[in-house]
Amino acid sequence: MAEAMTIERRHPLAGHVFAGTGVALTPAHAAFRTSLRCPSASVPGLSDALGVALPRTPKTSVTEKGRSALWLGPDEWLLIDEKTDPMADLGGIDALHAAVDISHRNTAILVSGPGAADVINAGCPQDLSMEAFGTGACSRTIFGKAEIVLWRVKPSVFRIEVWRSFSDYVFGYLAEAARDGG
C-alpha cells in the first residue's frame, strides 16, 4: 500500500525569482549533495570511486562529468551532482571515510550577471576579485548573518549553497542588495 503512495517534493525557494539591473537570482535545481570527510591517504581511492579528483588545494573545486567536489577543509569536501547520487558510488569503498547525505540540508541560489560579485559583497567580507576568487574558487564563509558556501562557477556566476532555513533570508538579502544597482 505504502509503495503506491507518492508525495510531492517542494524546493525551499519555490517561487523565488529576482531579475535586476546587472544581476539575476535563480534558485538552483535540486541536487544530490554529499558531505565527504576523509584522511589524506583515502583521497586517491575515493577520487577513483567518485570519478572526480578531490582537490587538495584550499579554496578550489574540481568538476568532472557533472559532478563537482569543493574543498571546504583539509579533510572535508562538498560533492554536488544533479544527476547521480555520490553516496551510491561510495557504498562499497574500503578507504576510510565518512559520507553523509545532505541533499536536503542545503539549497542553492545562482547569482549571475556583471554585478554578481558586488551584490554578494553586500554581505560577504571576502575579496571576490578574479585574482583572489577566480572561476572555480569556493569557500565556506559568511553572508550577512548566515553561513554559506560560495562557489564561483563562471566569471559572472556564483552559486551560493546555504542551509534551507536560511535560504529565504539569503535570497531576500541578495535581492535587497541587488536593488542597490549591482
Binding site: E3, L96, E176
Partner: protein, 1003 residues
C-alpha cells in the same frame, strides 16, 4: 542681472562656477528662496544674504556660517523630506540644495531672531565649564525629579525624527590595492600614480566635486591648466579606468586595524526626487593593501571676544563662496589674520566688489609682496594689530581693532569679518590608524610621525609647504603604494607640474592678543560645544592638568567637532595656563567617526526582515494554514498552539494535551539539532562525550544521552540512535544545535584527534514529525514501507530505516510525552507533503496537531527535563534525578572529574523535584522562589525556585518542577511559594505526574 540672481543679492555676476540658468527653489524656516544648482545650503543662504542660521548648543547664541566644509560647527539645520524624513544637525555647508529642499533652523524658540533660551547667555557666569557637575549636587532627590528632566529637555541639538526611517541603506565590502582618502590635489595625484601603475584603486572625497582647496585657490596651475579644471578632468579620467572606483560625496570616517577603512557614501540627499529603489547612503568597508591619506588641512579661526557673531567666517570659506559659488559674503568686510592666505581671500573679495575695511594682522612683519598688492588695491593693512571684539548680535556690525600691545581702539563698521589663524593638518585618520603624531616646532602643528599601519600621508595633512610639494607627495605616495601592493607590476612614474601664487605661511595658536582681558566676554574656542577661552583656563585652575581631563571638563573638541577647529587653540591655551610646552601637554584622541554617520548607514541592509534570519521549517506553510500561533525559539518560528474557533490559548493547549493521550497528536520537531557521527571510532567518541555508556548500544537502538561540560554540569541532552556499527544519528536541543556541534568538534579536533570519526550537521537534512499517542502506530502504518511496526520488530527506543509514502525515512520509536510514539524523519523537501498526508489521517483518527506549549506540558507531566529551562548551567545529572544516565563503570567521559568536585558531590545541592499546589488550582509562576517558612522576616531564606509550571488537564490540576535544596529528601514536605497575590502552599513530590509505570520510563 538674470532672473535667477535677481532674488539673490549676494550672487556676483561672472564669479564662481555655477550656472545662473539653473535656479533651484528651497525653503528655510518656511520662507522660499532661490539658489543655483550646485549650491550648498550655506552658499545659497549666503547668496540671499542670510548669515544667521542657528542658535548655539548651550548659550543659544545666534550663529552664522563659519566654514565652507564638513568642519562646520555652527550652521547645523534640520532637513525634512516629507513627514518621516527629518534629519537634525545637518551641516548647511555640506548639504547640497535641490528643488523643494526644506531646511529649518534649530535650538531656538519661538523664532531664530527672538529666542527665549538666550537667557542662558545672559546667565552664563553660572553656566561656566563644569557647571553641571557642581550645581546639581543637592538635594539628592531633586536630581530625579527636577534637575535631570529639565536638563534633558534643554539639552541636545535638533529634533530627532519620530517616525520609522523610510529610506533604504546599502552596504558593501570592498578590497583594493590602494585606497586614497581625499580627492584634492594630493589625493588625485596619488590615485593617478597608483592607477597608472596598474593597482586597483578606490579614491573617495567627502565633497560633491573633486579638488579640495583647488575649488577656491584660483591662482593654482596644474599641468598648465586651472587647478580646479585639472581636478575635474583628472577625476573623470580616473573614473573611466577599469581599475579605479571614484567615490564622490564619500567620507572616510573610520580607520581600523589592518587597513580596514569605513566610508560613508551619500547617494540621494542632493537629489530632487530620488528613485524609491535608490539607497540613501552606502557603507563601504574597504580592506586596502595600502592607504594614502590625503585629507588636507583645516583653517583655524581667531579667538577673540564675540568671535561667533554671524557674518564672521574663515577666510578660506569666504574665498570658497566667492570663487566656486559666486557668492560675496559681505559688502564691507574686515580681515583678521595671522596667516598669508587671508590676503588672497581679501584680494579676491575686493576684486569682486567688496570693500575691505581693514586687514588686521597680528604679525609684525608681513611679506612685502602682499602689502604691495594690498596697497595697489587700496586696502588698509594694520600689522601688529588685533581684533579684540566684534559688535552686533544677529550679524556682526563692527569690529574693535587695537595694537597688539595696547593702545587706542578703533571701531570699524563691517558687515562681515573673515579670519585666519593658520592651518591645522587633518591628521584624524592617521591618528585613528594608531600612528604617532610628532610636533613640528616650526609650524606649531602636529604632523604624522611614526606609522602603525601600511599607509602614507600626502599633501597638506602631511605638512606639505605648497601646491608643488602637495602634488609631488601625492605622486610619490601613490606610486609607492602601488609598488608595495603589487611588487611585480611595472611602475609608471608620473610627473605633474604644479604651482600656486598663494602662500599659507603664518599662524596663531590660542587666544589672540587681548588687551581688554578681564571683561566678561566670550571668545570661543569650540563653537559647537560653546567652549570659551576662559572655560579652558578655568579647567586648568581647578586642577585639571591632563588634556584629556580638560577636554571632558570643558567638552572642548567633543561630539562631532572631534577637534577639527578647536583642538589646537584649546591645547595652546591649556599649555600656556599650565606653563608647559604644547607637545608635553599632548593631544586628545581623535575618534571615529570623522564626521557624523547616520544609524541607517551603520545598519545597512540589516533591518526589518533582514535584521536577523527568520528560520522556518519545511512544514511552516501548513502550520500557517492551520491557524497556528507561532513562538520564537531562537531564530526559529515554531507553532506554539493551534487554536480552533472560540479557543483561547489555555483551551487550545488543554484540548491538544488531552487529545494526544486519548488518541494521537502530531508535532513538528524539525528544529531539533541533528548530528551524523560517522567512522570506526564513532561509538568510542560518543562514549567520551556523553555521560552514558555507548560502546554496547546495539545497531537499531536508541539511547537518551546527557552531555556535560568538563565542570560536571549538564550542557545538553538528546536521543542518540545507532544506525550502523559506524554511524550514529544524534539529536540535540533546538537551541543547542550549533554549540553542541562546536563542543564535539572541539574535543574531536583538539583532545581526541587520533579518533577516526567525523561529525556532520544534518539538522536541516531531515524534517521531523513527532507522532504521539495510543493511536500513533495505527495512523502511521499505512504510510510505511519496508518496516514492521509491531513492538516486537520495532520496540520502544529503537530506530529503523524504511520509507514513508515512498520516500526514505528514519523512524525512531520514542516519546517525549510518555506515550507510544514515533519521530518520523524524512528528507527536508518532503516534510511539507509528509506532514499534510499524515495530518489527514491523524484528523480521521480523532487526533490533532499540537504545538510547543503542549509538548512542554506533556513532557512535564512525565517529569522530563528541558535543558535550559529546568537546568541553569549549575545542575548536574544527579541534581536532575538522572543519575541512571551516568555510566558508573566508565573510566572517562567529559565531566567525569567535575562531578567529583566536593561542592558537586556533597550535600545541600538543589535537586529537581515535583511540586503540587495544595489548593489544587494555582499554577505557580515559573521562576518563583521557594521558602520553607513563609513567616520569616525578609530577606527570606530562599531554598529553590520553580523551573516549569503548567496547568494539566490530564493530571486534573497544576503541576510544577522545581530545584529545591536537598529536594530528594523532602518528599511529602510542605513548602511555600510567595507570589504577587499571596503565598502558595505546595507539596514536594516526585516529578513523574502521569502514568508512572509506563514503558517509556525505562529509558
Amino acid at each position: 542681472m538674470t532672473a535667477s540672481t535677481a532674488t539673490q543679492p549676494n550672487r556676483v555676476d561672472g564669479a564662481g562656477r555655477l550656472t545662473p540658468a539653473n535656479p533651484v527653489r528651497f525653503s528655510f524656516d518656511g520662507d522660499t528662496y532661490h539658489g543655483l544648482a550646485g549650491d550648498t545650503l550655506a552658499s545659497a543662504l549666503l547668496a540671499n544674504d542670510i548669515h544667521l542660521v542657528g542658535r548655539s548648543f548651550k548659550y543659544h547664541r545666534p550663529r552664522g556660517i563659519l566654514t565652507a566644509g564638513p568642519e562646520e560647527p555652527n550652521a547645523l539645520v534640520g532637513i525634512a523630506r516629507g513627514a518621516a524624513r527629518r534629519q537634525p544637525n545637518v551641516r548647511a555647508t555640506v548639504q547640497e540644495i535641490h528643488d523643494g529642499l526644506d531646511a529649518t533652523s534649530q535650538n531656538r524658540w519661538p523664532s531664530l531672531t527672538a529666542d527665549v533660551g538666550e537667557v542662558n547667555d545672559w546667565m552664563s557666569p553660572v553656566f561656566a565649564a563644569g557647571f553641571y557637575y557642581k550645581t546639581f549636587m543637592w538635594p539628592k532627590k531633586a536630581w530625579d525629579t527636577v534637575y535631570e528632566p529639565i536638563i534633558r529637555r534643554a539639552a541636545g541639538l535638533g529634533v530627532a525624527p519620530d517616525q520609522p526611517d523610510p529610506d533604504r541603506y546599502a552596504a558593501r565590502y570592498a578590497h583594493c590595492d590602494v585606497l586614497v582618502c581625499g580627492g584634492g590635489a594630493a589625493g588625485l595625484s596619488a590615485a593617478l600614480a597608483a592607477a597608472e601603475s596598474g593597482a586597483s584603486v578606490i579614491v573617495c572625497d567627502e565633497r560633491a566635486a573633486p579638488g579640495g582647496a583647488l575649488a577656491f585657490e584660483t591662482d593654482a596651475r596644474i599641468d598648465g591648466q586651472d587647478g580646479h579644471r585639472w581636478a575635474t578632468e583628472t577625476a573623470a579620467k580616473l573614473a573611466a579606468m577599469d581599475n579605479v572606483r571614484v567615490l564622490p560625496r564619500t567620507t572616510a570616517f573610520g580607520y581600523y586595524a589592518q587597513n580596514f577603512v569605513a566610508l560613508a557614501e551619500r547617494l540621494t540627499d542632493h537629489l530632487d526626487e530620488p528613485a524609491p529603489s535608490m539607497a540613501r547612503e552606502r557603507l563601504w568597508q574597504v580592506r586596502a593593501k595600502r592607504v594614502v591619506i590625503a585629507t588636507g588641512a583645516i583653517e583655524r579661526h581667531m579667538v577673540f571676544a564675540n568671535n561667533d557673531r554671524p557674518g564672521i567666517m574663515l577666510a578660506s570659506a569666504a574665498r570658497h563662496y566667492l570663487n566656486h559659488y559666486g557668492v560675496l559674503i559681505g559688502r564691507t568686510v574686515g580681515v583678521y589674520t595671522a596667516n598669508d592666505s587671508a590676503y588672497a581671500a581679501a584680494f579676491d573679495l575686493k576684486r569682486a566688489g567688496a570693500d575691505i575695511a581693514v586687514i588686521a594682522d597680528i604679525r609684525d612683519t608681513v611679506d612685502p609682496a602682499l602689502l604691495e598688492e594690498a596697497g595697489r588695491l587700496g586696502i588698509r593693512v594694520l600689522t601688529h594689530h588685533a581684533v579684540v571684539a566684534a559688535g552686533g548680535k544677529l550679524r556682526v556690525s563692527s569690529i574693535v581693532v587695537r595694537p597688539c600691545r595696547g593702545g587706542s581702539r578703533q571701531v570699524i563698521p563691517v558687515d562681515a569679518l573673515i579670519m585666519s589663524a593658520g592651518w591645522t593638518p587633518s591628521v584624524h585618520l592617521f591618528s585613528q590608524s594608531r600612528g604617532k603624531l610628532r610636533f613640528d616646532e616650526d609650524g606649531r602643528r602636529f604632523l604624522p610621525g611614526e606609522y602603525a599601519q601600511d599607509c602614507a600621508s600626502a599633501g597638506a595633512c602631511n605638512g606639505a609647504a605648497n601646491l608643488a610639494a602637495t602634488v609631488e607627495e601625492g605622486l610619490a605616495a601613490g606610486e609607492a603604494a602601488a609598488k608595495a601592493a603589487r611588487p611585480k607590476a611595472t611602475a609608471k612614474p608620473l610627473s605633474i607640474k604644479a604651482e600656486s601664487g598663494g602662500s599659507w605661511d603664518g599662524l596663531m595658536l590660542g587666544a589672540g592678543p587681548n588687551p581688554e582681558a578681564g571683561k566678561v566676554v566670550k571668545a570661543f574656542v569650540d563653537f559647537q560645544n560653546d567652549v570659551t577661552e576662559k572655560d579652558i583656563r578655568l579647567a586648568v585652575r581647578e586642577g585639571f592638568h591632563s588634556i584629556e581631563h580638560v577636554k571632558r571638563f570643558t567638552t572642548n573638541g567633543m561630539a562631532t567637532d572631534q577637534g577639527k577647529l578647536s583642538n589646537m587653540h584649546g591645547l595652546a591655551i591649556a599649555a600656556e595656563a599650565l606653563d608647559r610646552p604644547i607637545p608635553e601637554v599632548g593631544l586628545t584622541t581623535f575618534r571615529a567617526p570623522y564626521t557624523p554617520v547616520t544609524f541607517g548607514t551603520i545598519v545597512g541592509h540589516g533591518r526589518g526582515a533582514l535584521f536577523d534570519p527568520t528560520r522556518r521549517t519545511p512544514m511552516h506553510e501548513s502550520h500557517e494554514r492551520a491557524g497556528a500561533v507561532f513562538e520564537d525559539v531562537g531564530q526559529w518560528k515554531r507553532p506554539w498552539y493551534y487554536p480552533r474557533a472560540g479557543e483561547d490559548m489555555a483551551a487550545a493547549v488543554n484540548r491538544e494535551c488531552v487529545t494526544v493521550r486519548k488518541s494521537v497528536g502530531m508535532f513538528d520537531a524539525s528544529t531539533l539539532g541533528k548530528i551524523e557521527v560517522v567512522g570506526p571510532d564513532a561509538a568510542a567518541f560518543l562514549h567520551l562525550i556523553y555521560t552514558n555508556p555507548f560502546m554496547k548500544l546495539g545497531v537499531g537502538r536508541l539511547r537518551y544521552g546527557i552531555m556535560c561540560r568538563e565542570d560536571g554540569f549538564i550542557y545538553d541532552d538528546g536521543v542518540v540512535g545507532r544506525i550502523a556499527e559506524d554511524r550514529f544519528h544524534v539529536t540535540t536541543t533546538t537551541g543547542g544545535a550549533p554549540r553542541v556541534l562546536n563542543h564535539m568538534e572541539d574535543y574531536l579536533q583538539t583532545e581526541f584527534p587520533e579518533m577516526k570519526v567525523w561529525l556532520t550537521s544534518t539538522s536541516e537534512q531531515w524534517a521531523v514529525i513527532a507522532l504521539q499517542g495510543p493511536k500513533a502506530a495505527e495512523v502511521l502504518a499505512p504510510f510505511v514501507g519496508g518496516l514492521d511496526l509491531s513492538k516486537e520488530a520495532l520496540p520502544f527506543m529503537s530506530v529503523a530505516e524504511g520509507t514513508f509514502a515512498g520516500v526514505p525515512m528514519r523512524l525512531f520509536r520514542m516519546s517525549f510525552a510518555g506515550e507510544d510514539g514515533f519521530e518520523i524523519n524524512v528528507p527536508g523537501d518532503y516534510g511539507r507533503a509528509a506532514w499534510d498526508a499524515l495530518h489527514d489521517k491523524v484528523a480521521e483518527a480523532g487526533g490533532c496537531a499540537y504545538g510547543t506549549e503542549t509538548m512542554h506540558v506533556l513532557r512535564a507531566e512525565k517529569g522530563y527535563i528541558i535543558v535550559g529551562q529546568d537546568t541553569d548551567g549549575t545542575v548536574t545529572p544527579h541534581d536532575a534525578g538522572l543519575s541512571w544516565a551516568v555510566g558508573k563503570a566508565k573510566d572517562d567521559f567529559v565531566g567525569i572529574r567535575g562531578l567529583k568536585r566536593p561542592d558537586l558531590a556533597g550535600g545541600g545541592r538543589r535537586q529537581l523535584v515535583g511540586l503540587r499546589s495544595k489548593d489544587g488550582s494555582t499554577v505557580l509562576d515559573e521562576g518563583a522562589q521557594i521558602v520553607a517558612d513563609p513567616n520569616q522576616p525578609p530577606p527570606m531564606d530562599m531554598i529553590g525556585w520553580v523551573s516549569s509550571s503548567y496547568w494539566s488537564d490530564n493530571c486534573g490540576g497544576p503541576i510544577a518542577m522545581a530545584l529545591v535544596e536537598g529536594g530528594f529528601d523532602r518528599m511529602g514536605e510542605t513548602l511555600y511559594v510567595p507570589m504577587p497575590d499571596g503565598v502558595v502552599e505546595v507539596e514536594v513530590r516526585d516529578t513523574n505526574f502521569w502514568n508512572p509505570d509506563a514503558e517509556s520510563d525505562n529509558g
